[in-house]
Symmetry: C2
Subunit: 215 residues, 2 copies
């Protein structure tokens, strides 16, 4: 998509990407974003889970949430997904950096009202975290659906920012006898811990097995 | 500190903490936050590194950054630090959750002008990521100091939110033969990767050795 005044990466423009593929790839491999909006004149930033389906990002929350009541009015929001991949150690303090990949989306949150789309959005969010878990669990009943509000944000104004690779120092600093490089940071999936009250005869479900194996 | 209208955790109030110790412990064991503010009428959320020193959170950026120019006017900001510790799998879709620990701070960013405090703030940010790295590197020169803007946010209005432990299902659902539990997520530090152009005789520095060992 075209970079806009809001999405154009100004600092280190070489790290900016605007193609749908790069943006969606980052969105699709994460499930937590930080969403910002103004609330009674103050900026608020909250971490929340999301799911992407086509051109929309879905988020959900409690119907009684004052925040969602505010947001469903179609307030402008901005959301960011960031994964830190490594600490970049340069020879100079100034050129220390991080390797990361990040997406920022700007838009207006729309309240999802159709019951089918609402139901599908919950499946999308669930699948974003653990694919196929939805098929294994007791699905939302009417009361739970009523207690849940769903918003969607169109992915029309978005950019990705990515840094990879070794440190970049000023030329004279390369002569300094200082260790420089990257310390990788990785998120790993641990061994699933059964609920202490779980019947010992209930095996690990297929979705969990697959999730743990794939990661 | 006292919960305020902005910091009081409304959803799942048992997960809210307002004591300085809990808040600072979370701040001190991370180094990336998502900072939100209004810019030309739109909410913006950006990931940025930070360091805590006493009652202040320091962030830095390029002097020419339009965002920082805006922020130094003393705009209200909100920042959030979140670490996801696990995926909580309940028997019902509705009670799926995450284990996490999170801090949100509200305040006004102040421009740091004194040269000593500016220099110290950069050391604080550096130490927050890798303790003692500051002592090993080529420190900022006048030109680099001039190119750097530093803001501080007082930690006066803040709250932590923490979820731990197994899923909590509705009573009848405990009878269902569905695997339930927690999938832990951990961030691990990988083996340091030397800059490809690093002189092979330069050993790993002490700060990096300690960082990799401690984590």
């Amino acid at each position: 998509m075209e970079p806009t005044k809001k999405t154009k990466v100004k600092r280190a423009p070489k790290r900016g990407f605007y193609d749908r593929e790069t943006i969606c790839k980052i969105l699709d491999t994460h499930f937590i974003c930080q969403m910002a909006f103004a609330h009674e004149g103050y900026p608020i930033v909250i971490p929340t889970i999301y799911g992407r389906d086509g051109d929309y990002i879905y988020v959900h929350g409690a119907t009684v949430s004052r925040m969602l009541l505010e947001l469903e009015k179609g307030l402008p929001i901005s959301l960011n997904v960031t994964q830190t991949d490594g600490i970049v150690l340069a020879r100079s303090a100034f050129h220390h950096s991080l390797n990361y990949h990040s997406v920022t989306v700007f838009g207006e949150a729309l309240l999802v009202t159709g019951e089918d789309e609402r139901y599908n959005a919950l499946k999308v969010i669930s699948d974003q975290i653990i694919p196929d878990r939805w098929e294994e669990v007791r699905l939302p009943n009417k009361k739970e659906m009523k207690a849940t509000k769903i918003l969607k944000i169109p992915i029309t104004e978005a950019s990705a920012k990515i840094r990879t690779g070794p440190p970049l120092d000023d030329k004279p600093d390369y002569e300094l006898p200082i260790w420089a490089g990257v310390i990788p940071l990785n998120t790993i999936v641990g061994e699933p811990i059964p609920d202490p009250v779980l019947d010992k005869n209930i095996p690990l479900s297929e979705s969990v097995k697959k999730f743990v194996k794939n990661d």
